[in-house]
């Protein structure tokens, strides 16, 4: 890969070598914004320059990085572990429409007048697919952008994308604007965007939890993308809890063969129980916790098995006990780097 000017990046192994646009989707609330932010940090580490974009006007990136609302402007928001820059851009469809008008028609001033009349709002709201093609178009432009000397401006772009239920339609731009324009400028624009999104330079990653609904949505989303011939990336299993109990204990508990008397003995040895009766009372209460834990672990194991059928690389991201803050994001970025996802 050709490196941008003035920066020396360290080589490393990544499963997504050659990918420059990372689209992050997943069921609502599974951690799309968090994972997109951590992925951007991970990709930037080693002195790279990464752009993190958001497309739903929710200021999620600002929240995760604890910053005031981001404008429609690329600005540096964080430094990666070991050097490297993360820039952010909150894409606003109306502004993107004005960009588009200016870029292709040189009519920004007219665009402003249209905005005042509500025309831009109207067009981006109900013209089928227009909003999405503007947003993905702005992103594609950043992916392809080069500086004066012909070098890529960004090493990678990470998009905090709409949820799984809408992702295929969102990315399938040519299909989407078909009802709007079979020929003409919008169609041409959509074709350009499609050529970026469907290329091997793009990967669509899924964030999931080890729960039934998000896993099911992930599988459905992957199938949908494959049908639309869009490139499926990895599956990020978020909020993974550490396993405290050895498999033998879990298996025994799940099969109702948990060794209560051994636990009672241990409790007595640790001085946690007065006498035998007390020890077995506490042991029984603890066994209930073990059994619940075992059932949950079993369910998670099942969901992992289901995810296996998707045939996409999986990465585990730990549950951060204290919630997500900058330190937490770095921790997630490190996990991403270590597992070769970036």
């Amino acid at each position: 890969m050709r490196q941008p000017a003035g920066r020396k990046s360290t080589a490393r192994d990544s499963d997504w070598e050659g990918v420059r646009l990372h689209v992050v989707t997943g069921k609502g609330g599974t951690g799309k914004t968090t994972v997109a932010a951590a992925l951007a940090l991970a990709l930037a580490s080693g002195n790279r320059k990464v752009l993190l974009v958001e497309v739903e006007g929710r200021q999620g990136i600002a929240q995760v990085f604890d910053l005031p609302p981001l404008p429609y402007e690329e600005r540096k928001i964080a430094v990666a572990p070991g050097g490297g820059d993360v820039y952010a851009l909150a894409i606003d469809p109306e502004e993107a429409m004005l960009d588009y008008l200016e870029m292709f028609y040189g009519i920004k001033r007219m665009g402003k007048a249209l905005t005042r009349m509500g025309m831009i709002d109207f067009a981006t709201t109900i013209a089928p697919g227009l909003r999405d093609v503007l947003v993905t178009g702005k992103t594609s432009e950043a992916v392809r952008r080069r500086d004066k000397s012909g070098r890529r401006v960004y090493d990678a772009i990470v998009m905090d994308a709409p949820p799984t239920g809408r992702i295929a339609r969102f990315l399938n731009v040519t299909q989407e604007v078909a009802g709007l324009a079979r020929v003409g400028p919008v169609k041409n624009h959509a074709d350009m965007v499609r050529s970026v999104l469907a290329s091997p330079e793009t990967a669509v990653h899924f964030v999931t939890l080890l729960e039934e609904m998000p896993v099911q949505e992930t599988l459905d989303g992957i199938t949908e993308l494959r049908t639309a011939k869009l490139p499926v990336g990895g599956v990020f299993i978020n909020m993974v809890r550490p396993t405290t109990l050895p498999d033998t204990v879990l298996d025994a508990a799940a099969a109702d063969r948990f060794d209560l008397s051994e636990l009672a003995l241990g409790l007595k040895a640790a001085g946690l129980a007065d006498g035998k009766a007390d020890a077995s009372l506490i042991a029984e209460a603890l066994a209930l916790e073990v059994s619940e834990h075992a059932r949950r672990t079993e369910l998670e194991r099942r969901e992992r098995g289901t995810l296996d059928t998707a045939g996409a690389p999986r990465y585990d991201l730990p549950l951060l006990a204290d919630g997500v803050d900058l330190t937490g994001l770095y921790e997630l970025a490190e996990a991403i780097n270590e597992q070769g996802a970036a």
């Binding site: 069921k27 609502g28 609330g29 599974t30 739903e56 929710r58 008008l101 028609y105 009519i107 007219m110 007048a113 249209l114 009349m117 509500g118 025309m119 709002d121 109207f122 067009a123 709201t125 109900i126 013209a127 089928p128 697919g129 809408r166 339609r169 009802g179 709007l180 324009a181 020929v183 003409g184 400028p185 919008v186 729960e211 039934e212 609904m213 099911q216 405290t244 109990l245 050895p246 204990v249 060794d259 051994e262 636990l263 003995l265 241990g266 409790l267 040895a269 640790a270 946690l272 506490i282 209460a285 603890l286 209930l288 916790e289 073990v290 834990h293 059932r295 369910l299 006990a321 919630g323």
Partner: protein, 384 residues
């Protein structure tokens, strides 16, 4: 000092004939659909004629409730198999449920309010298809519309409403207004009636501008587009007068005393913060809040054994190289006690900001909730 919130008496709400609508709202994935279904089942088994209006239930839950068809009409749920998997009708109640199909609901409004020819014009227009299937807020609007329809039908004495996983969780309060504003907007008026704007000068100006806009839109979007927009807008014009009015009616219905809002939340920092926001927002809109359901709360069975003592004991056994099993179990227990304490603190934090808001807790189940027996258990826990 820790504060105790007033307890939320779910059965008093369910059993009160004056309660006609229960709305479950909250941020994404917290358990709105599960709570709505569990409340519906409990109310039905306590003798009420209930319909649950759900949005995107988990597949297995939908299947187990017999909601496999997305036909946008309520279906009676009886369950099948063993007694635990059937709705107990001994108290004379009934459970119905339906899954919202927003596009279908929108189509039905158009069909009901426009003559067949005009309806056809609208339904096949690409702009309509975009508005009815992807305009953010359409789902919320349609959920409110459906609620209004169900309420007007008078067929049920209790309607339990699940709300969509929204971008911001009270979209269902804002969206009808937003859609109404959109359809009522200046631009739509210009597009529909460039001719009748002759009189006033401002309108004249807009009208003159319209030619330029039209020319530009044609240039940018292609020739067919403007025609489509105009057809769509003028066709819709005939029906959308009613949109706003009905949205307002439903909004007032929600404010009425027969409605009870339940905010569903998870006992985590961000989720409780969001719950605070809902509670405040509902108060601002004068919506009747019944309380907050804190879902998926973790508890420890051996609650007398503190986390500190467990950690210490585990450490001690480990250095002695004894009782591996006990070491592992003590650590698991200690982690759980800490988690429970953290969740408790988040709830107390909420209560100190909103001391009068009743709370009910539902423990985190080890497995997903996807059948009537599971829903019944959630209902029981909610009421206890």
């Amino acid at each position: 000092m820790s504060r105790t919130a007033p307890a939320l008496d779910i059965d008093a709400i369910l059993d009160d004939d004056a309660t006609r609508i229960i709305v479950c709202c909250g941020s994404g994935g917290v358990g709105k659909t599960t709570t709505a279904a569990a409340l519906g089942l409990r109310a039905a088994e306590r003798g009420r004629a209930v319909v649950v209006l759900t949005v995107d239930p988990a597949r297995r839950l939908a299947q187990s409730m017999g909601l496999t068809e997305l036909d946008n009409t309520p279906r009676r749920i009886t369950g099948n198999g063993s007694a635990a998997d059937r709705v107990d009708a001994a108290n004379g109640g009934e459970l119905h449920a339906m899954m919202l199909d927003m596009k279908r609901t929108f189509d039905e409004i158009i069909e009901a309010h426009a003559d067949p020819q005009r309806a056809q014009q609208i339904l096949t227009n690409p702009f309509y298809q975009s508005l009815s299937s992807s305009f953010s807020g359409t789902q919320e609007y349609m959920a409110m519309e459906k609620l209004g329809q169900l309420r007007r039908s008078g067929d049920w004495d209790l309607i339990v409403v699940d709300t969509p996983p929204s971008r911001s969780a009270l979209d269902f309060l804002d969206a009808p207004e937003r859609l109404g504003r959109f359809l009522d907007g200046r631009l739509i008026r210009i597009l529909t009636a460039p001719a009748k704007a002759g009189g006033r000068s401002a309108f004249k100006l807009l009208n003159a501008g319209f030619g330029i806009i039209a020319g530009m839109l044609t240039k940018v979007l292609g020739a067919q587009v403007l025609k489509d927009i105009q057809t769509f807008v003028s066709a819709l014009d005939a029906v959308f007068g009613g949109f706003r009015q009905r949205a307002e009616q439903t909004y007032r219905l929600l404010q009425a005393p027969g409605t009870a809002f339940l905010v569903v939340a998870a006992p985590e920092r961000d989720a409780m913060r969001e719950a605070s926001y809902f509670v405040e927002r509902l108060a601002d809109d004068r919506m009747p809040l019944a309380g907050v359901v804190v879902n998926r709360v973790h508890q420890a069975s051996a609650s007398t054994l503190s986390s500190a003592r467990s950690y210490a004991a585990a450490e001690d056994l480990e250095t002695r190289g004894e009782h591996d099993l006990t070491v592992a179990v003590l650590r698991l227990h200690a982690d759980r006690m800490q988690l429970a304490a953290r969740e408790q603190r988040e709830q107390e934090h909420f209560t100190s900001a909103h001391p009068t808001v009743p709370l009910a807790q539902v423990p985190a189940m080890p497995e997903d909730v996807h059948d009537l027996a599971g829903l019944r258990q959630i209902g029981r826990l909610l009421a206890s």
